[in-house]
Amino acid sequence: MISSAEATRQIYWNISHLWVMYVLLLPTAASAGYGIYRHFSRWRRGLPTARFDRPAERGKLLFKHAVAQRRTAQNFYAGLFHRLISYGFVILTIATTVVALDADLGTAIMRGKFYLYFQSFIVDIFGALVMVGVGMAAARRYLKRPQKLVYTDEATLILVVIFLLCLQGFLIEGWRIAATNDPWGAWSPFGNLCARASRALMSVEAMEWAHRGTWWFHLVVSFGFIAWLPYTKMMHIITAPLNIYTANLAPLGASLKNIDFEQTESFGVNSLKGFTWKDLLDFDACTECGRCTAVCPAHTVGKELSPRDIVLQLRDLMHEHPRDAFGLASTIGTANGNGQPASITPADHEPTTDKEARKPLPIIGAVPATSPAALWQCTTCAACMEACPVFIEQMPKIVDMRRYLVMEEAEFPDSMQSAIMSLEKRGHPYSGTQATRLDWTEGLNVKHLSETKEAEVLLWVGCGGALIERNQRVTRATAQLLEQAGVRFAIMGREEKCSGDPARRIGNEFLFETLAKENVGNLNKYQVKKVITACPHCFNTFKHEYPQYGGKFEVYHHSEYLARLVAEGKLKPLVGLDKKITFHDPCYLGRQNGVYDAPRELVQISSRQSSIEMERSRNKSFCCGGGGGMSFVDEPADQRVNQERAQEAIDTGADILAVGCPFCMTMMEDGINARKGERDVKVLDVSELLWEAAKPRPLENSTS
C-alpha cells in the first residue's frame, strides 16, 4: 500500500505537443481581454458618481449577495441551481489553477491529502453538482418556461457548453484512471464510474485515443467559452459582483439623483451620455433573470412597462450602436441637419476618441421598452430594485427619462400636467378641490406653530391628509390620539405646501426643489426638530431629500410614533375589535424605508384575532398603484393596479384592510369597492384602528 502522502497524478498524462495549448491561450486571452476592455471603455463614458466609498459596507454587501447569493436565493429553485453552477464553477476554476501552478510554476500543491480530498473528491462532487444545476436550469427553461425569462439561443448554448465541459471532464478523468490503473481513482467517484464503464467496453489503447481526442476538444471548448464569455450574459460573472460592490448603499427611498440646476445644461436623460458609469454598468450586469419585471405592478396588470426590457434594450443599444449612442465621431454615416444620426452605424469599431461629432442618439422611444407610454406607467414602487439579485437601479433611470420628458419637452400625461400646474399655483396637486388645509381641524383644538411656543413636535398633515375627505378622518384620528397621549404638537396649517414628492417622481425636479426650499424655509423659521406624518411620501421626502436643502429633522411615520406612545403606556387601547385584519405595506414606508413592524403592532393591538398577511407583504409588498404621480392618472379599466392588490386583500378573507398612507387609502378603497362583491371589507388607516380602541367611551351607566 502506498502512503496517501504520496498521492497525486501525472499532469498532462497522454498529452504531447503542449505548446499548441499555449499558442491557443493567446487568442483566447486576447478575445476575453478585449471583450472586457470594451465593457470598461463603455462604462467610462458615463458621468461620474461616487460608488467606492465605505469599503467595509460594500465588502459586506458583496459577501452577502455575490458570495452567499442571498437575493438570488429568494427564489428557492433558481437560487439552488444558480448556487450549484456558480459554486461548482469556482471550485473547478480553483482546481484548474492548481494544475496550472504545478505544471507551469513547478509548485507541488497537488499532492497527498489535498490531492485526495480536494482535487479529487470535492472537485468531482462539484463537477457533478454543476451538471445537476444545468439540468435544473434547463428543466425550468424548457419545460416550465416561465414568462419572465428571455429566450435566446445564447442562453441555450451557454447551458449546453457548461454541461459538455463537465461531462468531458469526467470522461477524460475516467479514461486516465482506467488506462493508468490509478490507485487513487476511488477518490474521484464520478471519474471512477466512467473508468469502470470504460474498462468493460474499451481497450486501453482505445481509451488513450479517446482521452487524447477529448482532452484537446475539451481544451478548445473551454478556451472558446472563455473567449466568448465577455460577449454574453455570462459577463455577469464579472459585472454582477462589481455591480453589487458599487450598489447604492442608501435606502431605496433615497435612490433618485440630484440635479444641480446651476451647473447642469440639460435636465433629465435622453441619451446614454446622460447616465452615470454605474447606470451603464447596470446594463451589463443584468442576468436577464426577469425578476424585476415579474414583480412590477404595472407589468403584472398587463401594461407595457418592463424594467427588465428597459435595461436589456438599452444595453443592446449601447452594444450595437456605441458611436451613435454616445454621439462620437463616426467614420460611417453623417449627421443630418438636426444633429441626429442619418443612419445607425454598425458596431464594428469601438469608440476610441472623445471628439464629438454629433448629438448622441435619443433613447426615449428608441426601443419599445423606453416608449413614453411605458415610462408613464411606473409607480416608482421600487419593487424591481428590491427584487434584482445584482442591485440594478431600474426606477431611477425611469425617473431620469421622465425628467427629460417633463423638463425639456413638457410632454407628459394631461392628468399629471394638471397636478403639476396645481402644485405650481397652489402648492397642492388636487386641482379644483374645495377643501382647505384646515377643514379637518373643525371641532378639535389644534394649534398652529405660530400660536404656540410649547410644541415639541410638528404634525405634518400633507396634501392627501388635509384635502381628501376620506383622509381627513385619518388626520383627525391621529391628532386625537396625540392629544390623548398628551403630546404637545402643532401644525403648519395654510403654510404647509406639498412636500414635492409627486413633482419629483413625475419628473419635475425644478418644481420639487422650489417646494422643498420653501417648506424647509418655513420649517426652519419655526425651528422644527421633530416631525410626525401619516404620509409615507412626505416621510420619505423629509428623511432623505430635505437634508440637502438644509432641513434636518427627526421624522416619524405616525404608526411609529403611535406605537411608541402605546409602548410607553401613554395610550391605553382597550381590547380591540373582533375582526380579521390584513395590513398593506406602503412602498415608501416599507420597502423604501424599512418600517414594517410599527404599523403591524398597531394592527395587532386593534384586533382580538391575529392579523393575516397577504402573500406579497413587507419588502415584497405590491404597490397600491398610486405612487409616482399615478394616483392622478386614470388607468384603463382592465389594467388597474389597485384592483389587483384589492383582490389579494379580499382573498385573504380579512374584514378590514389596514393602510398607512393617504394614497393607499384612496387607491385601496376604490379597488375594494370595485372587487368586494357582497362581502363587507373596510379600508381603515392604522391610526383609525387605534383610535377605535383607545377613544374615550361613554360610561356604562350614562347610557340607558
Binding site: 440646476f261 435636465f267 417633463v406 423638463m407 425639456e408 419637452e409 413638457a410 400636467q417 403639476i420 400646474m421 399655483k425 397652489r426 402648492g427 386641482s431 379644483g432 378641490t433 374645495q434 377643501a435 382647505t436 377643514d439 395654510r494 403654510e495 419635475n508 425636479e509 425644478f510 418644481l511
Partner: protein, 268 residues
C-alpha cells in the same frame, strides 16, 4: 405680423369657496393664502397667439400687463411659454381700476410698444368678470373688435376669426389691425412651459413703465374710477337648513313631506 396679448394677473379663482373672504371696508377680496395667477382667458388668448405663430410663422408676440409689480410673474410665465417680449405698466394706485381706466393705460402702452396687427385680450377676468376691457380698448385705438374668438387663421392677408355665438360658431374675415377678445375652447388650453424655458424666462429683458411715463393723466388712472365706483362688496349668504319629516308609516311620512313642501314653497 405683430401680435400684442394683454394679460391680467388675478387672485386664484380656484380657491375653495370657504377660504374666500372680502375686506368690506376696502371693497376688495382678501388675499389670504391664495396665490396670484394669470387670468385663464388671457392665457387662452396667449395660447391662441402661439398657435397662430406656429402655423403662420414670421410673427412676433408681445405680452403686456397693467398691474401690481407681482404681475411680472405672469409676464415671465408668458415668456416661458415663448412669447417674444414683455412689458409691464406698474399700477401704484387703485388696485381695482375700472375697465375704462385699464383700456386707456393699455392703449397708451400699446402706442409706446409699436404698431400691432392683432391685439388680443381675454374675454373677461376671473376676478371681477366685467368683460369690458377688450371693447373699450378697441374704442380707444379706433379699431374694430371681434369678441369670443377661439381661433385665428391667416388667409391671404386677412385674418379669419372663428368666434363662438349663442347657437354655435361663425367665422369672420377681418383686415388687420383688429382687436379680439378670446374665449376658451378645447384647442386653446394653455400649454405647460418647459422647465428650461421657465428658467430662461428670468434672464429675458422685461420693459417696465410707471403710469407717469405713459403720457396719460396719471392721477386719473391712479384713482381708477372713471365711470363707476364699487359701493359695497359682500359675499352673498346662502342659507341651507335640513329638516326631517316624521311619521309612523310610509304613507304618513309621504303626506307630511308633501304638506311641508306646500308650506315652504307656497304652492297650490
Amino acid at each position: 405680423m405683430n401680435i400684442l396679448v394683454c394679460l391680467k394677473q388675478i387672485l386664484d379663482p380656484e380657491i375653495p369657496a370657504r377660504d374666500f373672504r372680502v375686506v368690506a371696508a376696502k371693497r376688495e377680496a382678501e388675499r389670504g393664502s391664495a396665490s396670484l395667477v394669470t387670468n385663464i382667458f388671457c392665457e387662452n388668448a396667449l395660447e391662441t397667439a402661439l398657435q397662430f405663430r406656429e402655423r403662420a410663422g414670421g410673427t412676433k408676440i408681445t405680452v403686456l400687463s397693467y398691474g401690481q409689480p407681482s404681475a411680472e410673474d405672469s409676464l415671465r410665465k408668458a415668456l416661458a411659454m415663448k412669447a417674444d417680449a414683455a412689458a409691464l405698466v406698474v399700477n401704484d394706485g387703485n388696485t381695482n381700476p375700472d375697465p375704462l381706466t385699464v383700456a386707456r393705460v393699455l392703449a397708451a402702452a400699446n402706442a409706446k410698444l409699436g404698431t400691432f396687427d392683432l391685439i388680443m385680450v381675454g374675454r373677461e377676468a376671473g376676478d371681477w368678470g366685467a368683460g369690458q376691457t377688450g371693447g373699450l380698448l378697441a374704442e380707444m385705438l379706433e379699431l374694430p373688435c371681434v369678441s369670443f374668438v377661439d381661433s385665428i387663421e391667416s388667409v391671404g392677408g386677412k385674418l379669419h376669426l372663428k368666434r363662438q355665438t349663442d347657437t354655435g360658431w361663425e367665422t369672420l374675415a377681418a383686415e388687420p389691425p383688429v382687436v379680439v377678445t378670446v374665449t376658451n375652447d378645447e384647442h386653446n388650453v394653455p400649454r405647460i412651459p418647459k422647465v428650461r424655458d421657465v428658467m430662461m424666462s428670468y434672464r429675458q429683458p422685461l420693459t417696465q413703465w410707471t403710469l407717469d411715463e405713459l403720457g396719460i393723466n396719471a392721477d386719473e388712472a391712479r384713482a381708477g374710477n372713471t365711470y363707476y365706483d364699487v359701493a359695497e362688496l359682500a359675499i352673498p349668504q346662502k342659507e341651507t337648513r335640513c329638516e326631517f319629516v316624521s311619521g309612523d308609516t310610509l304613507d304618513e311620512k309621504v303626506e307630511a313631506f308633501a304638506r311641508r313642501i306646500i308650506e315652504v314653497t307656497g304652492a297650490m
